[in-house]
Symmetry: C2
C-alpha cells in the first residue's frame, strides 16, 4: 500500500535515486518500504505550485477552507486501523495514546474550521472616514489579517499525528489561507505518507487549487534547507531539536534575501516548583503525580518536567525517596527511534557527570531493546546556577532535582533559568503566598504557568499558549497549539479609501460575515 | 537650558569624555551645546535600572500607566515655543509642520492612554474548566498579553517628535508595560534632551519606578550596539535606514545568546499606479496631487511616493509634462541634515546613471544651502525589472516613473517589486476593474493599499498598518503606528488552574475591568 513517493501538488513523484527506509523501534528492524528523497527539481516544483496555488487559495471563502479541513479530519479517521497500526510500528507509541492523538489531530482541524466559520479571527478593524475633521479630514481605513504565502512545515517525531504532516502547523497555516509544504519527518515515513495522501485527496475532493499542499521526503540539511532558503516560501513551522531549529531560524534570516518568520518550538525542560507545605501535606500523592508526568510517553513530551525545585527541609528526603520509588516502579518504554533512545542515555549520563550531580535513581540501560528507563538526578542550587549545561534538554524520562537551601536560593536558581514552554507550581495557599517572588520570577521564563497539576497535557483550546521565551521557541509572541496558532501565518493589511465593492467581506459596511469587529474603537458585531 | 546629559533613570549623567555637537541645517553651523556620549558603564547602569524597574512597572495599573502617558503629553505641550524653536533649528522643518507633529505625538500618547483605560488590548481569553469532560477533564485556562521587558528605541531623524524620543515606539512600549531606553538620534540632540527630560519629569511626578525611562546619547555602532546586545534588553524599536536597521536586526539574532524581536522600519519607495482612464479624466489634478506628495516635507517621509507606474498611451506624455512642471514649481527645501542632503543627491544621481534611466526634471543641486530640489526620473519597465538597484530608496523629493508598454508589463514590473509600507492606486472604477491583477499583485508587496489618495500622511488610529513586507520592515506582522503598535511589545501568557486571587484583573471571573474577552470561544464583556 505504501508507495514511497513525494506529492508535488496532486502528483505522486519519485524522480530521485536516493531513498530513506522506515525503521521500527518495536521490531528493531528496518521495514520493507523505501521512501524516495525529493530531488532539488521536485522541491522547486512543489514551491512553484504553492506560489501559484496561493493566488487562488487565499481567495477561497472561509466555508471552502473549513470544509477542506473537515474533509481532512474525516479522511484521517477513515484510514482506520491501518494508520494506527503503522504509527504504532514506526513510533513504538501504544494504541491508546495514538487513538487519543488522532482525536486531538482531527479535533484541531475542526477547531480551525469552526474558527473560520465564526470568522472573527481576522481581527477586522474599521475607522470610518471623517471628511469634516479639522485641520485634516480622516480617510476611511480598514484592516484585517491576510495570509503570508506558502508555509513549510517540519513535523516532530514525538507526535506523529498532532505535530506532524497533518498536525497543528499544517492545519493552522492552511486555515489562514496559506499553501503548505510538509517536509516529512524521517522517523515515521509511512505514517506521513498516509497522512499526506489524505490531505492531497481532500484537496482534490474539495476543488482546492493544485499546490495547496505538497509533501516532500528528504533530509533536513539538504531538502529542508532548500525549502527554507527558497524565495517562494514565506514562513516556517518547526517542532524538534534546538540544533535543527536554530539552523533553520538562522538560515531563514541570514541566508535569504528576504528574511521570513520561523516558528520553531525547540527545547524546554519545564521546571516544577514543589513548595514545602504541599510536600508536608501530600508527599506521596505529589510523588506519584510527578513520576507519572516524568514517565508519560517515555518522557518524550516537549512539556516533560525536567527540573524539580525543592526547598531542603525535614520533609524533602522522604519526598525524594517516594519519587524514586515511583520512578523505579515505572516500566521502561520503547522510544521513538534509535537515535532518540541513544541520545537519551547519553545526555542523561552527561548530566550525571556534571559537577555536583548525584544520581538518585537510574533504571537499567535498555537501549539494546530501544527502551528508555527512568532516572532521577539531584544537584544543589549553587551548582545548578553555575552550570548552564544542566539546562540542556534530556529528552526522555529523566528529571533533575534542584535542592535549594532556602527561598532566596530558589529565587536565584529561577533567575538563572532559560526560557521554557511551561512552569509549574505545586503549593497550598500559604505556599503560593509565601513564594510569590519565586512564582513571579518563574512566570518571566515561561509561556504557561500551571498551578497544582502536571505540565504534560496541552489542551487544544482558545486560551492555550504553547510557546514561550527562547530557547523554548524562536518566537515567544506566538502559540503553536490552540486557536491563535492561526495568527502566526497572517499579517495585518490596511485598505485606505477602498471602494465597498472591492473590500473583502470581513470589512464591508454591512458586515455580511457577522463577525466581531472594532469600529471607530468600539467592538461591534 | 540644554545640559547635554544622559538620563540614567532619574539622574542626569555625563561621565564620558566624548561629545556630540548639535548641528543646524538652517544656520548651516554647529550649535554651541555639546552632548555627552554615554560611557559603557552608563549604558549598563541604564539597562540595570530598566530591569529592576520592570519588576514594578509591569504591575502598575492601566490607570497609572495612562496618567503617566498623559502627563508626558501635557508636559510636551508645556515646553511651548522652546521645543518648537529648537526643533526648527535642528531639523529645518517649518513651524506649522512641527506644531502638527507635536499634536500627533501628544495624540498618540493619549490614544495609548485611552486604550489602557478601555483595556481590551490585552486580548483576554478564558476557557473554563470542564471537570466532567470525558475521557479527560479540561483545566481552567486563561491567557492575555503581558509585557516583554526593557525595550530600546532608536528614533528617526525625519519625525523629531512623532518617531523619536517621545514618539510612537516609546509610547507603545511604555503603554504595554515595558521600561524604555531611548538611544537619542544624533540629528536633533537638543530636541531629544527636552523630550527626554519631560518623560523623566513625568515619571517622577507619577511615581513611576526609576529606570522606567532612560535616555542615552551616542553613536549607533557603539552605544546602540551595546544596547542591542545587552541581555537585559527584550525588544527593539527602530526607524531609519536599511543599513542601520539590518545591522541591528542581525545583531539581535546572531550576536545575542537569546535573540529578541526587532521592529525596524527601514526603507520603502511606495509605488503608485496611475491608471489610464484616470489620467485621461484628471491629468492635471493627478499631477498636482502627486507632486505635492513627492515634495511634501522635502520628500523626507517614509511613505514618499518614489515609484510611479504608468501605462504608455496617448495621454502619458502630457501627464508627465504636467508632473514635471509641478515639480519644477516646488521650491527646494532645507533637508534634515547635511548627510541626508548629500545622500539625496548622490543616490538620485546614481539612479539617474543606471541603465535606461532618463532624467525628466532635476532641480539645481543646492546642497551647499542644505536644500533638496525635486527630481523626476524615467525608465521603461523592462529595464526596471532587470535592475534591483532601481529599488534603492532615494530619501528626498525624487520619483521614478516606470513606463509600462501594457498591463502585462505592469504586472511583471509589480512582480519584481520589493516589500513596501504602502501601495497606491489612482484609477476610476473601470480602471480598478480592468487592472485587478495588478492591484492584487501590488497588495502582496505592501502593508497599506491606498485608493485615489497619496501615501504621505499616516493616520494614528485603530485600523492603521504602518508596516509591510521586508525590506520595508523586518516584521510585516506588526504596525508601528496606531493602536495595535502596543502589541509589538507584548507576548501571550497562559495561566492554568490559577487561584482567582492570584489572577490579573483582566482574567478574573467577574471581569472587574469590563473588557471584551473571549470566553469558551465567545466574545463577552
Amino acid at each position: 500500500m505504501l508507495k514511497g513517493y513525494n506529492l508535488i501538488g496532486f502528483k505522486e513523484s519519485a524522480k530521485g535515486d536516493k531513498h530513506l527506509t522506515a525503521y521500527s523501534p518495536v521490531q528493531q528492524e528496518y521495514l520493507p518500504e523505501t521512501f524516495c528523497i525529493a530531488t532539488s527539481n521536485e522541491v522547486n516544483d512543489a514551491v512553484a505550485l504553492a506560489v501559484t496555488a496561493f493566488e487562488e487559495y487565499r481567495h477561497c471563502t472561509a466555508e471552502q477552507k473549513a470544509v477542506f479541513l473537515e474533509t481532512i479530519a474525516t479522511e484521517i479517521v477513515a484510514l482506520g486501523d491501518d494508520l494506527i497500526n503503522r504509527a504504532m510500528q514506526e513510533t513504538g507509541l501504544p494504541e491508546a495514546r495514538l487513538l487519543g492523538e488522532r482525536g486531538r489531530t482531527t479535533g484541531q482541524l475542526k477547531l480551525f474550521a469552526d474558527q473560520l466559520r465564526e470568522g472573527s479571527w481576522v481581527e477586522a478593524v474599521i475607522d470610518e472616514a471623517l471628511p469634516e475633521r479639522k485641520p485634516l479630514p480622516r480617510a476611511d481605513l480598514r484592516k484585517m489579517l491576510v495570509p503570508l504565502g506558502p508555509v513549510v512545515v517540519f513535523g516532530a517525531s514525538n507526535f506523529p499525528f498532532a505535530f506532524s504532516t497533518a498536525g497543528g502547523d499544517t492545519a493552522s497555516a492552511l486555515a489562514a489561507g496559506n499553501p503548505v509544504i510538509v517536509k516529512a519527518h524521517e522517523s515515521h515515513l509511512g505514517t506521513n505518507e498516509m497522512m499526506a495522501t489524505v490531505i492531497k485527496n481532500a484537496a482534490i475532493k474539495c476543488n482546492m487549487p493544485e499546490g495547496v499542499f505538497s509533501f516532500l521526503i528528504g533530509e533536513g540539511p539538504i531538502t529542508g534547507m532548500q525549502l527554507v532558503k527558497h524565495p517562494g516560501i514565506k514562513a516556517i513551522g518547526f517542532t524538534g531539536s534546538f540544533k535543527a531549529g536554530m539552523a533553520i531560524y538562522k538560515a531563514a534570516i541570514n541566508e535569504r534575501e528576504v528574511p521570513i518568520p520561523v516558528y520553531a518550538e525547540m527545547s524546554s525542560i519545564n521546571p516544577v516548583l514543589i513548595l514545602p507545605q504541599q510536600i508536608k501535606a501530600a508527599s506521596g500523592a505529589l510523588a506519584a503525580q510527578l513520576a507519572g508526568s516524568i514517565t508519560l510517553g517515555v518522557g518524550q513530551f516537549c512539556t516533560n518536567p525536567g527540573l524539580i525545585f525543592l526547598i531542603n527541609d525535614e520533609n524533602t528526603e522522604a519526598f525524594i525517596t517516594e519519587l524514586k520509588e515511583k520512578l523505579a516502579a515505572a516500566p521502561a518504554g520503547i522510544m521513538l527511534n534509535k537515535n532518540i533512545c541513544n541520545n537519551y542515555y547519553q545526555t542523561k549520563n552527561k548530566a550525571a557527570n556534571e559537577n555536583g550531580v548525584t544520581v538518585l535513581y537510574e533504571g537499567e540501560n535498555v537501549s539494546i531493546a530501544a527502551k528508555g528507563s527512568a532516572a532521577l538526578l539531584k544537584v544543589i542550587a549553587a551548582d545548578f546556577i553555575k552550570n548552564p549545561q544542566l539546562q540542556n534538554e534530556i529528552f526522555g524520562p529523566a528529571s533533575l532535582i534542584i535542592l535549594c537551601a532556602d527561598q532566596l536560593e530558589m529565587l536565584k536558581a529561577l533567575q538563572s533559568l532559560h526560557g521554557q514552554l511551561t512552569g509549574t507550581v505545586m503549593g497550598n495557599s500559604d505556599d503560593l503566598n509565601n513564594f510569590q517572588n519565586c512564582i513571579i520570577e518563574l512566570s518571566l521564563k515561561v509561556g504557561r504557568l500551571i498551578y497544582n497539576a502536571v505540565p504534560t497535557g496541552v489542551e487544544v483550546c482558545h486560551a492555550m499558549v504553547h510557546g514561550g521565551p527562547f530557547p523554548a521557541t524562536t518566537d515567544a509572541r506566538s502559540t503553536s497549539v490552540g486557536a491563535d496558532a492561526i495568527k502566526r501565518f497572517a499579517r495585518p493589511f490596511c485598505w485606505q479609501d477602498c471602494p465597498q465593492g472591492l473590500l473583502p467581506l470581513a470589512l464591508k459596511d454591512d458586515n455580511p460575515l457577522k463577525i466581531m469587529r472594532k469600529i471607530n474603537g468600539e467592538f461591534r458585531r
